[in-house]
């Protein structure tokens, strides 16, 4: 928007040969004409430089171009944040997301773990077991393990994991593909994640079960929190998170071969 307005002023000036003002500094028509010989780009740079030295704005004589002010830019950023921002509430086995969110998930038997990935832009407010606020581009991947016993049975345990977009006109989210939820996304019977990957490009303040951090810039963390008396096999590639393998064998009375068979070569 800034570039567009600047170019519009320059082109208009070059066409009409009119003079214009930058914060009260009136450029003489002879100066404009001299710069015209060097082309539009040159004049554009000159005008940009003048504006940067006079931040209160650029004003054309016939008032056809509105002034650019710091307050307008702040208003624009706040408005965009509110429009594109979202809220996430995670509590127990239920997750709620309001506002725009890019989302995909995979669950057995198609997947080898219970994986969900959410991407938020601009502003995200989190509450529930994780409280926080972030401004920027944020990605969260949560993975819950699949029990080895379920992989061995011929039937396999049917996943009761349920994701839905109740306020959407275009049906529920599709497993294994990117889905865009603009208003409301809900996850029910979500298994507790034992692996989390969180990345943020921007600013984040978070307090809770997943992270306790204040970060400015870029931050990417992964965290595995296995429970006691269990054996795990885990493979994760951030480029293909839905293909994550995360299997758990609960300790009972020996017999580690099932997990080794799943793991294959070390």
């Amino acid at each position: 928007m800034f570039d567009y307005v600047m170019r519009r002023v320059v082109l208009k000036t070059l066409t009409n040969g009119d003079r214009f003002a930058i914060d009260g500094i009136h450029l003489h028509p002879s100066l404009i004409e001299a710069q015209t010989e060097s082309g539009v780009g040159y004049v554009f740079l000159q005008v940009s430089s003048a504006v940067s030295q006079h931040p209160s704005g650029l004003r054309s004589r016939d008032d056809s171009v509105s002034p650019l002010s710091f307050q307008r830019w702040v208003g624009f950023l706040v408005g965009t944040s509110l429009l594109c921002g979202g809220c996430a509430w995670r509590s127990g086995n239920t997750e709620h997301y309001w506002g725009p969110v890019l989302f995909r998930y995979a669950a057995p038997p198609q997947g080898k773990a219970y994986v969900s990935e959410q991407r938020h832009f601009v502003l995200l407010i989190e509450s529930g077991r994780q409280w926080g606020i972030s401004l920027g581009w944020k990605t969260r991947v949560a993975v819950a393990p699949q029990r080895v016993e379920d992989t061995l049975s011929s039937q396999g345990r049917v996943s009761s994991w349920l994701w839905s977009k109740p306020l959407s006109l275009f049906g529920g989210p599709e497993e294994g593909a990117w889905n865009l939820s603009l208003v409301y996304l809900r996850g029910e019977r979500v298994p507790e994640p034992e692996f989390l990957s969180r990345s943020i490009y921007g600013v984040e303040l978070g307090i809770g079960a997943e992270t306790n951090a204040l970060s400015l810039g870029t931050s990417r963390t992964t965290e595995a929190r296995p429970h006691d008396n269990a054996m795990y096999s885990f493979r994760y590639d951030s480029r293909r998170p839905l293909e994550t393998l995360f299997q758990v064998w609960e300790y009972r009375d020996g017999g580690f071969m099932p997990l080794l068979a799943q793991e294959g070569r070390p």
């Binding site: 990957s197 303040l205 307090i207 809770g208 992270t211 306790n212 951090a213 204040l214 970060s215 400015l216 810039g217 870029t218 931050s219 990417r220 963390t221 992964t222 965290e223 595995a224 929190r225 296995p226 429970h227 006691d228 008396n229 269990a230 054996m231 795990y232 096999s233 885990f234 493979r235 994760y236 590639d237 951030s238 480029r239 064998w249 609960e250 300790y251 020996g254 580690f256 071969m257 997990l259 080794l260 793991e263 070569r265 070390p266």
Partner: protein
Amino acid sequence: MKMQWKSQVGRVLPVAVCALFVAGCQGYLVFTTATKAGLHISQQADQSPSALFGYKRAEVASIPANPKNASTTEDTYSVLATFCVRYDPLFSQSAEDSLQIRSVFATGMAAREAAKNPEMQSFFAAAALKQVLAPGKTEKKCF
């Protein structure tokens, strides 16, 4: 009105900062990897608070110790693990921002039993040897 607002911020801010550092002090096993650039203030479980300005890359395993002695039926928190992490930062030669993790690990009584199991011993021995780069091999791959 302005003074009241400042006063409220003055009360809430210290509480929020304390909560940030205290909330993470819980006793659970954690494997974590982190890449940070910029300003980062954090607190991981069972560790001191940290502040970073710049770039940092880390792989950390935090294993809480049980104050009770181990017995035949109770474990202090044994861990048996093989762990491979490969990370290509955004501006590396491969121009890919990717992270690969491969791990097999056992916790508690499962780790104690796995350590006694000959097949598991062979498995972990082979996994450990594979982590060492063979002669002429320059690239590390987890899978």
